[in-house]
Symmetry: C2
């Protein structure tokens, strides 16, 4: 195990500094905000874009969306929507008027300002897996319920890897923590173990309000400073077809009101919660998403919103959801075209249906990540650690995904295609002629340490050397890297007084009973 | 193991018919020639294309290429190249004049005309791994030398899978066959076990001539019919930097003269046989490739040629070649831009450095396959079965790759993005409203058996069902599929008299001593 055996102890310094190249467990890429330099893949013609838009608008105008939240219904009604009980219909002129108020790009700034991220502007950013109830690792060897310790360990990976730009929801649900106080403990862990942009679940007002307060405390901001620009984000899923539920809308409205990131991601499985045809599933997803963005823009014009896609297909033999399929890829690309049409930042995901971190897991994940690149996605949820359609979090998969993410980040580096005289290297070709070797040339020697991407997990040894090193397959190598990272992990710096203030907040809110669990 | 346990015995019929959906071991996609509908990814500006072209031309004009074959040197000299010993320099006007004679698209027709393939015209076609000296499978569990039986088994996979469009070189080197007669036995196996477009190694005149004769016999063609249009192809690699060796040129010239497919693929590892900078490595590769195409076009104007790329980078720590890297992807995309500039069909590969069919194998292979799609590659060599940088052939990897290839073929199906009224499904959305489910709708029921890609290897069961089925990881499932295919395999039909004529040819050539092995 080269990656582990060659690790060296650090000479000193503090962990977690945004610009360092990584702690000692592995050599990793530095923290950067990658810019997607590829032209998007666009399967839709202009007419196709217009037809999907028209279908989404007809859904909003004629069928309407159910908003299972009286306050949301009231706000939408007052703004001119046609309300009938919980059903809200809105004309396309109004939809487009409000959607245009949403910024095409915005920043989010966590407690460490060096970890600020930009949503939009051709950036593609990656976050950890969120919300699996279960956990799997090679040591345990089976699927088990998530615990706080597992969650903490995955948060450490989230912090450790520079290719992870934002912290998602709980990287595994710590079901050993009571649901009423779970958000308090996990947010304490997240805000002390990471310094990246955090996420809040929209599951009732207490959770969102508690998270916003803890994020404010962690960054030592006044209320006005907190609201001046986005510091965190929430993500809501509609209850497809054509419905938004109460707690999601509640959190959504609170985040919009306070100028925090609002991402809406309908989960439209074609053939189940949406039409079996992908263009229809995309149109329905857009209608559901845009309706929430209209609500946010009514509440706070200019509120930072993004449109997400989670359109995939089911296995029509079993009804099981499938991910990273050809249909998933095209749906993501189509959604990308539509997001550009609406001028909104876009979210998609790194996903698979595989149950263990094997070949299938990686080809499905690769398909979803390429769909993200091809679609112009700005924010890739679940980009590290996801298995079993999101039901399992795995540290081995997390580490394997980070190897892939690093390669994609390097892929975006325009330096690879340098066609300056240096990049063309004609003088080196002249020097070597037809019988030499390039390794010894000055042109090579000046560049060889930085010319190529250097993996931390891929094993490029030949078979015999790989065999001599123990014949270790990728998942097991990833397990060793995971353990090495945990061993070396140092939390990002935080003033002790801030930590105490956070802990005191958690204690107070626990003593008040946390959040209700009856929604 | 769902794929194996559910296989059914065929009721009858002949195997190998090009349009059947597959034999019974698995349900696979039908034989089609996929059209790549994606706009290529183009990292070079127009100026970048011009600069790489100019560098390639300066190499050809000022440095020249060594042609280690007196006949080739003579032909090039008579056509106006500047010859100095084995060094041949050619002006860009002459290069472009001859390159323009090469067709931008051509067909190749094997003994079963239903297996005709088109090189060019936005087709992307896949072939099996070629030329590994070693073999690995899960049952053996270690790297071993290739044998004729292993080679035959991999040829059976080549024939079986409809996503494999052409037969490459030996899918594993049968080192139990003496090198002097190996080509005779393997070509006999290839021509009887498959009916797809075959390949000939350019390793001395006897091998190429024997293969052309066997291909002619297998299809029962006259010499004139054989030459009337391409029936097979060869692939040569330059001896980078800037050199073509004797036997490769010999085979190349014989294939060009007889109007068979001529593919030239320099193996330019950046930092070793080419500049450490990718644009320079691409420019050198193009110069080497174009020089061979000029030779072919002098010999037979209009000869069917394609330009290949095998530009990758080494691991600068160990010097080992790496594949499917970010640099490999961009080099392939740049070569695609240049191939379009020259109006030539293009070849690239499905490659990885991994030693076993695990996660790394699949992410590296995925990167190379996406580079093929993004570059507008027409012919993907090594698309199934490749491990260890091409030193190992593996049937498990073959089967896993075919699952991915099928998904890519489905990805190219424009039907996924249908935006007709049927594709938008507004009536189904209207019918289901906000509280129903789409499965029961007429819109879904009419489409659910064909709406989505159905994998033969991906396991979409949930964890518990997967565990109950034996917790089988992908590579092991692939092994079972491989065994099931072998068990069910039936060779494509061939008249007994043709088989006898082929066998008699092999016997006669063996009695004559086969081909020399001293080159």
């Amino acid at each position: 195990m080269n990656e582990v055996s060659t690790r060296r102890k650090r000479g000193g310094g503090r962990a977690g500094h945004a610009t360092r190249r990584g702690t000692a467990a592995i050599e990793q890429l530095p923290w950067i905000l990658p810019v997607n330099i590829d032209r998007p893949t666009e399967p839709l013609t202009e007419e196709g874009v217009a037809r999907i838009h028209d279908t989404a608008m007809v859904i909003l105008e004629e069928l309407g969306i159910e908003f299972l939240n009286p306050e949301a219904v009231r706000i939408l009604g007052e703004a001119g929507c046609r309300v009938s009980g919980e059903n809200v219909r809105m004309d396309r002129e109004m939809v487009m008027e409000y959607v245009r108020k949403a910024p095409s790009s915005f920043t989010m700034t966590p407690r460490n300002p060096e970890r600020q991220i930009t949503m939009g502007s051709n950036h593609i950013l990656f976050g950890n897996v969120s919300s699996p109830p279960s956990y799997w690792d090679l040591e345990i060897g089976r699927k088990v319920s998530g615990t706080r310790e597992m969650c903490q360990n995955l948060l450490k990976l989230t912090q450790y890897f520079n290719c992870i730009h934002f912290a998602g929801g709980y990287p595994v649900e710590p079901v050993d923590l009571h649901a009423s106080i779970r958000h308090l403990d996990v947010l304490y862990d997240k805000l002390t173990l990471t310094d990246k942009v955090p996420h809040a679940y929209s599951l009732g007002k207490e959770r969102v309000e508690d998270v916003m307060e803890m994020v404010r405390i962690a960054a030592q901001l006044s209320d006005a400073e907190f609201e001046a620009s986005p510091r965190m984000y929430t993500n809501i899923n509609s209850t497809s077809p054509l419905k938004h539920d109460y707690p999601m809308l509640d959190g959504w409205m609170r985040c919009a009101a306070r100028n925090q990131g609002c991402i809406v991601t309908p989960f439209t499985l074609a053939g189940a919660m949406a039409p079996v045809t992908m263009a229809g599933a995309v149109a329905q997803s857009l209608a559901e998403g845009l309706s929430a963005i209209v609500l946010a823009q009514i509440i706070r014009p200019g509120a930072p919103c993004a449109i997400g896609t989670f359109t995939s297909n089911v296995d029509m033999k079993s009804g099981a959801p499938a991910f990273g399929t050809p249909e998933y890829m095209r749906a993501t690309q189509m959604t990308g075209q539509m997001a550009r049409y609406y001028g909104l930042p876009m979210r998609s995901s790194g996903v698979c249906a595989a149950n263990v971190p094997d070949g299938q897991a990686m080809w499905e994940t690769e398909h979803s990540l390429w769909a993200a690149i091809q679609s112009g996605t700005n924010m890739v949820y679940h980009a590290a650690g996801w298995l079993e359609g999101g039901l399992i979090a795995s540290p081995e998969k997390f580490v394997m995904d980070c190897e892939v993410l690093q390669q994609l980040i390097r892929y975006m580096d325009p330096a690879i295609c340098d066609v300056s005289d240096d990049g063309l290297g004609l003088e080196a070709i002249r020097e070597v002629g037809s019988s030499g070797h390039f390794f010894g040339t000055k042109h090579t020697q000046e560049r060889y340490t930085t010319a190529f991407y250097q993996p931390f997990l891929s094993d490029w040894k030949n078979y015999e050397a790989w065999e001599a090193a123990g014949s270790i397959w990728t998942a097991e190598r990833a397990h060793h890297v995971y353990k090495a990272i945990l061993e070396d992990f140092e939390a990002p710096p935080m003033e002790e007084s801030v930590r105490e203030e956070l802990a005191a907040f958690v204690e107070r809110r626990k003593s008040e009973g946390g959040a209700p669990t009856d929604f």
